[in-house]
């Protein structure tokens, strides 16, 4: 399996461990990710709020690049995935939008490539059976709340790979690793990351709410597929709250026994190593 890989701006900075773990896990599971040469910002999370043409044009430019390289596009960041899959959906299903996107990005849209989130690749292209077979160190005893965030599975017509109100793909992946996904009601509730810089007080309230709900459900950690969620849930919490927030790719790396996992976890603002040591899962 070979794909073009779009890391996005956050994965070069605050989400660097998501980038590292995605690449390592893909390689270990036989998926080749070729970084899309010359990729540029998808426009999230500002272009769509200010200018409709920029929102489509910036995303379409990257779809044009992916098309040029002839491989389906894999996007780990939920925010980039939202913008890129939305632009692709618009151009695929609406002839007027296609003409607009083609003009703005200067290309001819063929519809030959598909935009996937990395979670979708893991769950549907690699599959949980193969992942379960590759597990070296099952994550036994690790109770996690799978947090999809708002962007990954909505709106359903654009992102039909999982259920929009009660998605299960992350739960199935972590279960294949031997961990225990808890049942909770906040899987797709927005964490407010988009307001993290502009309205921190509002965001703190929301992060509190989410972490408290995860604890109440019996989770010892959260699992995300979004760098904005991961950072926001770590940054805007009370100093006393110690619930770790993993990327799902980090948990896969841990279960596969990848030695570099320790370096990813060291990047977290909230140390997850204590919990892993307690469960004898540390690397």
């Amino acid at each position: 399996m070979q794909y073009s890989y779009y890391p996005g701006c956050s994965l070069e900075a605050t989400g660097v461990e998501y980038n590292l773990s995605t690449r390592a896990v893909a390689a270990a599971l036989g998926v080749e990710l070729v970084e899309l040469p010359g990729w540029t910002c998808c426009g999230s999370s500002s272009a769509h709020a200010v200018n409709k043409d920029l929102a489509l044009g910036l995303a379409a430019h990257n779809i044009a690049l992916a098309q040029e390289h002839g491989r389906d596009l894999v996007v780990p960041c939920a925010a980039c995935y939202t913008r890129l899959s939305k632009a692709d959906y618009q151009m695929r299903h609406d002839p007027q939008e296609r003409v607009r996107g083609e003009k703005l990005a200067g290309f001819t849209y063929t519809g030959e490539i598909t935009v996937y989130s990395f979670l979708e690749v893991v769950k549907d292209h690699i599959g949980t059976e193969m992942i379960a077979r590759a597990v070296q160190r099952p994550l036994t005893g690790l109770k996690v709340a799978c947090y999809y965030g708002c962007l990954l599975v909505r709106p359903p017509e654009v992102r039909p790979f999982d259920r929009a109100e009660d998605p299960v793909s992350l739960d199935e992946v972590v279960a294949a690793l031997g961990a225990e996904p808890v049942s909770w009601s906040y899987k797709t509730t927005c964490c407010g990351a988009g307001l993290s810089l502009t309205r921190p007080a509002v965001v703190k309230r929301q992060v509190d709410r989410l972490l408290a709900a995860a604890r109440e459900a019996g989770a010892e950690a959260l699992v995300t597929a979004c760098p904005l969620c991961q950072n926001n849930l770590e940054m805007r919490r009370p100093a006393t709250e110690s619930l770790p927030v993993f990327y799902f790719t980090e948990l896969i790396g841990l279960a596969l026994g990848l030695g570099e996992a320790r370096a990813w976890l060291k990047k977290h603002l909230v140390d997850p190593l204590n919990l892993l040591q307690k469960l004898s899962l540390a690397v």
Binding site: C9, S10, E12, A13, T14, G15, V16, G38, T40, C41, G43, S45, S46, A47, H48, A49, V50, N51, K52, D53, L54, A55, G57, L58, H61, K103, L104, A105, G106, C150, L151, R154, P155, P156, A164, E165, T188, T189, C190, G192, A193, G194, L195, L197, T198, R199, P200, V202, Q206, M235, K266, K267, H268, L269
Partner: protein, 191 residues
């Protein structure tokens, strides 16, 4: 375009016929179908923070209360989480409506004074235009400087920096392809 005055609990607002059609056309959403079931508002985690709830925004659009809507604080709070649109029984994607309202407010110079979200978006897009990507460290720093809040998250910034999560890479090369997209967009607006 006819105008009139509407008495709301919050005071008198001016109404314009044509506003509903304009927002419906630009957002592509069937706003006339809203029958005020309030599912959007029930699911919105920001309802308590805004001046109008999502269902009230729709109602005001139907009334034609252009200024009240475009100057409202609520439209800038929306994070496009799409919970409302997913649950709307009439298929109104409210996030598209909120985006359209923000775009209209910017284009017409109606962003409320001191609305820092609009400033954030402006700085964000300037970064993309300059180098094709966003350096989070640079964006955060510029935003903090512009809002005079440099010290607010200093500790957080330092903790991120120490972990190598806010790299300052000198990558000030222009990206001609992205410049071109921005120029095309400006060209469209002038046509």
């Amino acid at each position: 375009m006819a105008t009139g005055v509407l008495n709301l609990p919050a005071g008198k607002v001016e109404v314009n016929t044509g506003f509903l059609e304009e927002v419906a056309r630009l957002s592509g959403q069937p706003l006339e179908l809203c029958f005020q079931c309030q599912k959007c508002t029930s699911g919105c985690y920001l309802t308590q923070d805004g001046d109008y709830a999502p269902n009230e925004i729709v109602r005001l659009i139907q009334y034609g209360a252009r200024e009240a809507v475009l100057q409202s604080k609520s439209i800038w709070l929306c994070t496009s989480c799409e919970t409302c649109g997913l649950r709307c029984p009439n298929g109104i994607r409210m996030a598209e409506v909120m985006d359209t309202l923000k775009q209209m407010a910017v284009a017409r110079g109606l962003v409320p004074a001191g609305e820092v979200s609009a400033l954030f978006h402006e700085l964000f897009l300037k970064e993309i235009r300059a180098i094709g990507r966003v350096q989070e460290a640079v964006l955060m720093l510029k935003f903090k400087l512009k809002t005079g809040n440099l010290w607010e998250d200093m500790d957080l910034g330092w903790r991120l920096f120490r972990r190598g999560k806010l790299p300052l890479v000198p990558r000030l090369k222009k990206n001609p392809a992205v410049r071109w997209v921005f120029e095309r967009v400006a060209g469209q607006a002038n046509n």
